[in-house]
Symmetry: C2
């Protein structure tokens, strides 16, 4: 089996190493496409690519090569990757990709194209890197009816938030993530939730059988979370994580599958929840099934080698003529609204009547206050304090927050975080 | 696809329900074999089996039926199940089984038979019930080189030990497990480690590519663990779990794959380890890969519905003509000996010179003492105290313990538990 590799960066070079280590001479990289290919040939891992391989800066040299059986695409992004993969599938080549954006936004069409050409399109590396949640769900949980997925799908955010849990402030934690190579110079895709959102939509298609549009999933940035929120979270026996959730919403008739309630953003997570266990760049996915209950997958979600393992596993599946279970999916609308308890953190210029004013806005939308927390040790000029609510409708709460933001004592926009509710762990 | 079901007990009846719920009319149970079949037909779940199905007490009626495509075997045990499955595979029927003993002891022959007949033999339910560790490893981690598996593979032991962690003594916890239906009247297969051992051997074949004989894997009973051990474990920031471990041992040359170091038994587990997270009847498997690092799978390891999900997923894979990755395995010897730190608990009739006598025996075999713990609050006539060692060779330590057991002040045989060492969680 001859592989045309698109991209010889961190994951591509690690894949070459992992492939060489597996010692199967019948599977080899015969073509490598990359910009600045002469520099890439000097990479320490270039030695893992067989002698005589074609190194090229013209992608056509790989896509059009008649002696390439599988295209491994590790460049990322919607375009031009989309056109490349369509060309590859169209000419009867199998494709293995780690491209989460492409699979999230255009997966349905690409799968249809692959099926029509009788070739495989595998993407195990697109979600949670080295954690085999895609094959685990496709092969091992196809017998269940999964109604909810929750997860830590972005290692960068988990690194930043778990650093903040350890005492760092957001800027420090972000800088540390950038120095360690976990975060980009422009961290928006990670911290604002767009990366996790794409992965959530891929999991939704696979596990919930629901094809949803990533653009419809509300994504909340983690960049407004501050050290004081971790202090308050601790008081509530919680920590804070970027959580991605998607759940089938039973509507009216009680039938499953009418819509998907989905969101990505920082949440308060009880320390007793598996979601709170992830440290550093670890990823975690929890599936909740009607019959099998909760299943947890966790491990290294990013990094060259773990991602390369997922790519290699897909390559091996193709080499062995393995065929995956096909899980049908249908288009569904996204409901951003949820009923949940919320954490509201205000920074105010302290004066009498603030709690009354806030309580009054909450009462107007029917949100009951569960607790009011206020730590000592802050000045009265920038006083952060916290209100938690009983479960309420997020859109209604949003209306109240919009009103509160107008108060003259409010020094910054209120921060609103959903509080994750943990089901009883022992239900079987 | 027509299914011949062997066994309409807890899992079999749950499978009928899960199959009916999936709403695929093309896959149905047409034959059911069970003892006392007239009573089984009155089972509430018999309604999930299609009208007109054959209910029989003669297994041949199912095995020899020309209109059965897949045999689902949920009876367990080596014989007569072995002969039944050989007959089924021999006549060109696919087989799905949850039979861990059969797959552990005779899997290699059965896989060869299935391959020679061009049919599938799937066993996802044989390890960790509803936790998709078998497809996850086979499909999702085939690209890695897994060098170690650790896990909580027996829900009954985990229920008992986590109840003891909550304050129960062993007898109470066992009785509670029996009342809840988690433990048999004769609990030996669970508490003495034979059940977990079979599962460990199945995982060893799949993940380590090492075919090992279950009888060669040392199994230590949990029945000697007492409440006082949990008190001491807590002091060491640990809990106690029945842990199953198998690890490729690099020998001499540094080559992997010469032998497998394997054991099943109660161990001290640091609370920071994922292994300590499992509560109640939950199962957990941690694989450690050369490239991908640690991957954790966890969920409901037992019970009718979770196990039925695994069976159903395998049935679905066959119905969809899915083909698994074939992972080769070679026979390997088991090494029971490990180098690890140990926890030794003694119950003695207190008198001067005891610590010196014990220390002297440990010194003879080169085992260094790491700590000596002795709680107040026990009488001097039955004084439990604890010695922990630095890492030492288990066989050498065993020699010392055999000598110590002869001391006249020793009121019961010393309890020796391995202390699990947790690698740095953040290694990528």
């Amino acid at each position: 089996m001859r592989i045309g590799l698109l991209g010889f960066g961190t994951v591509g070079s690690a894949f070459a190493e992992v492939l060489a280590a597996c010692g199967n001479e019948d599977v080899r990289i015969t073509h490598v496409f990359n910009r600045g290919v002469e520099r890439k040939r000097l990479h320490g891992h270039a030695k893992f690519v067989v002698d005589g391989a074609v190194w090229t800066e013209r992608v056509e040299d790989v896509l059009e090569a008649l002696d390439v059986d599988v295209i491994v695409e590790l460049m990322g992004g919607l375009d031009p990757a989309d056109g490349w993969l369509r060309a590859a599938l169209g000419s009867g080549k199998h494709v293995v990709t780690a491209n989460k954006q492409l699979i999230a936004y255009r997966g349905a069409e690409l799968f249809a194209l692959a099926a029509s050409k009788g070739v495989q399109l595998l993407y195990g590396a697109a979600v949670a890197g080295g954690v085999p949640v895609i094959p685990g769900v496709a092969q091992g949980l196809s017998g269940d009816q999964i109604t909810r997925i929750s997860g830590i799908l972005n290692g960068t955010c988990n690194f930043i938030l778990s650093s903040m849990e350890g005492g760092a402030d957001y800027r420090e934690a972000l800088t540390r993530a950038q120095m360690a190579g976990y975060a980009e110079a422009n961290p928006s895709a990670d911290v604002d939730g767009f990366d996790a959102r794409a992965k959530l939509c891929i999991l939704s298609r696979l596990a919930l059988h629901a094809e949803i549009n990533p653009d419809e999933v509300p994504a909340q940035t983690i960049s407004n979370v501050s050290a004081v929120d971790f202090a308050y979270a601790r008081e509530l026996n919680c920590t804070i994580r970027q959580v991605s959730r998607a759940q089938l919403t039973p509507k009216g008739s009680g039938l499953l599958g009418d819509a998907v309630s989905a969101s990505v953003g920082p949440m308060l997570v009880p320390k007793s929840s598996p979601i709170a266990w992830s440290r550093g760049t670890q990823n975690m996915v929890v599936t909740s099934g009607r019959f099998g209950g909760d299943v947890v997958f966790s491990g290294h979600g990013a990094g060259g080698h773990p991602t390369a393992v997922a790519v290699m596993s897909d390559v091996r599946a193709i080499a062995e003529n393995s065929v995956q279970v096909r899980l049908p999916a249908k288009k569904m609308a996204v409901v951003g609204d949820v009923i949940a308890p919320y954490y509201l953190r205000f920074v105010v210029d302290d004066k009498p009547g603030i709690v009354a004013a806030i309580a009054s806005e909450l009462a107007k939308v029917g949100a009951n206050i569960d607790s009011i927390l206020q730590h000592r040790g802050f000045g009265t000029e920038r006083l952060p304090f916290v209100v938690t609510t009983e479960p309420c409708l997020s859109s209604k709460l949003g209306e109240a927050i919009a009103e509160m933001a107008k108060f003259d004592f409010m020094l910054e926009p209120p921060l609103c975080l959903q509080i994750l509710v943990v089901d009883d762990p022992e239900t079987d």
